[in-house]
Amino acid sequence: MPPLAELTQLIVFALLAAAVLVGAIGVVILPNIVYSAFLLGGVFLAVAGLYLLLNASFIAAAQVLIYVGAVNVLILFAIMLVNKREAMGASPGVGLRRLLSSGVCAGLLLLLLRVTFTTAWATPGPPQIGEGAVIHLGEHFFSDYLLPFELASVLLLMAMIGAIVLARRDVLSADIATGEAVDQGLIEKSRTPLLMEKTP
């Protein structure tokens, strides 16, 4: 590999790694939840860039499609549809809580760092398959990884049916929160009509 390409790879790796780290810290720290959600999209994109740097272009594209295009958009949707701007009052013992949570996080970080430094990483790793990755992934999905693949599909199907049942109130006989009888037809009838009848 010519030195120019190696240097470019190094610079790109440093930029992407910095973007992932700064972005992830921003997601956690920023007080505005909308900024956090947008930054999360940026972090996902930077991770896709890292995959690209590892010659795994299919995984990178799938990362963009699923995490940025679906997961992050859904998060944003949820935030914007429930856009309650309530001022967060100072909850009691906020200092202690922050201390505790940062302690847990620091412990986790130490644990991960220890694992990273004590593991005997096989360098260089297995040979890159590059463009042939799609075929290999497909073969694995339909042979030795068939069961996890199918289980994940069934899990997703269950989640989807559950979400539809929750969203369609006419299937439920009673509201989950209030316990009152709910019927979609009744709700629609009880609404005030948009055009009032003209009084003579």
Binding site: F38, L45, A61
Partner: protein, 374 residues
């Protein structure tokens, strides 16, 4: 084209530089930005032409004349429009979120321009023949709704927010049938690469184009592409009678121009991809090999290669602009659908249809491997 000599500009250009005493690394560095610049210019010129076509065709549909003073037949009108937007004041509303407001249009335009990476104009005439090819476009086009949500939210305006939410909902709904329609084509050509997809459609000229084997997929793809581009009858995110201009309401000057540019680049790109996926890409209705045989010319002669290369570019652009013409005609012919009709149509009709199309294609591929790709 499996000939020994094919039109390869990179080798030729770098050979020329290296003959002049420039190292291979530097010549590669000089070469790299050239195709990107060329495609960027092509995309912008494509947009100018499309804007002019839109104005002229809409005028013809409504029995008007349309722009006529700026240049012959008003051909310079889009340039004048662009210049006007360029020098307009760039307003950011006082209560808007300045950072997200600026970032939104950028996030809308950049993925669209990046997608031009995979559009082939000939055997070697594309920026990069990446292995994931068409999947890259599907993935990149899913970034756009984030930019739309961002600009809708940052405008701090209820119409903008509604427009952004509608755009994202529409984009997510129509992405799935779109990807399934692409998947059926990919299954037939055994590759995600746009070059392989076109090569699989050459051989018998117009008869081997995918539109004959994937008529339903073609319709699904075209409908979904119109919905992704927010063209009528699917322009709900900017429905002017309901939402002023949707997520664009608060934008002015260059930021508005970015949205405008993005939507038209996306339209041209979608038309180009329809021609690549279903209409044989750069292929001439008669196979060029047969034509060269009739004229008694060897297919790998340099002059013949240059001519076939030019014919390929002309064919790609011609097919794409035919589709753009249909899109413009549709815009001024059909009424807008309602949001519930739009979502019902996407989820309850197009999605099952695309799944059935995929299943039938798989079955046909197993039954007739000669016709539907082995």
């Amino acid at each position: 084209m499996s000939s020994t000599f094919t039109l390869d500009l990179e080798t030729g250009f770098r050979g020329l530089l290296e003959a002049g005493g420039i190292g291979p690394g530097v010549s590669r560095l000089i070469w790299l930005p050239l195709p990107m610049l060329l495609v960027l210019v092509a995309a912008v010129v494509g947009v100018l032409v499309t804007v002019w076509l839109e104005r002229k065709i809409s005028a013809a549909v409504q029995q008007r004349i349309g722009p006529e003073y700026a240049g012959a037949l008003g051909i310079l009108q889009p340039l004048a429009d662009g210049l006007k937007l360029l020098v307009k004041e760039d307003v950011i509303p006082a209560r808007a979120d300045g950072l997200l407001f600026t970032l939104g249009p950028v996030l809308v335009v950049v993925p669209v321009i990046l997608s031009w990476l995979i559009v082939p104009f000939g055997q070697n005439l594309l920026i990069s023949n990446v292995g994931v090819g068409i999947f890259l476009w599907v993935a990149l086009s899913s970034i756009q709704p984030i930019g739309l949500l961002m600009s809708g939210y940052a405008s701090n305006n209820k119409y903008s927010l509604l427009g952004g939410l509608r755009a994202a909902a529409q984009s997510i709904s129509y992405e799935i049938p779109l990807a399934l329609a692409v998947l059926a084509v990919v299954m037939m050509s055994n590759s995600l690469s746009t070059i392989d997809i076109v090569n699989q459609q050459t051989g018998a000229g117009i008869l081997s184009w995918n539109i004959w084997r994937q008529p339903v997929g073609f319709l699904i793809f075209w409908i979904c592409a119109l919905a992704e581009c927010e063209r009528l009858p699917f322009d709900l995110p900017e429905a002017e009678e309901e939402l002023v201009a949707g997520y664009q309401t608060e934008y002015a000057g260059m930021k508005f121009a970015l949205f405008y540019l993005g939507s038209y680049i996306n339209l041209v790109l979608s038309a180009l991809l329809v021609s690549v996926l279903y209409l044989g890409g750069w292929g001439f209705p008669l196979p060029v090999e047969t034509l060269a045989g009739w004229l008694g010319q060897p297919i790998d002669a340099p002059l013949v290669q240059v001519i076939t290369g030019s014919v390929g570019i002309v064919m790609t652009v011609l097919k794409a602009y035919l589709l753009v013409f249909f899109a413009i005609l549709l815009r001024w012919t059909v009424p807008r659908v309602r949001i519930d009709q739009l979502l019902d149509f996407g989820w309850k009709f197009l999605l099952p249809l695309a799944l059935v199309n995929l299943l039938v294609t798989a079955a046909l591929k197993l039954a007739f491997p000669d016709v539907f790709g082995g």
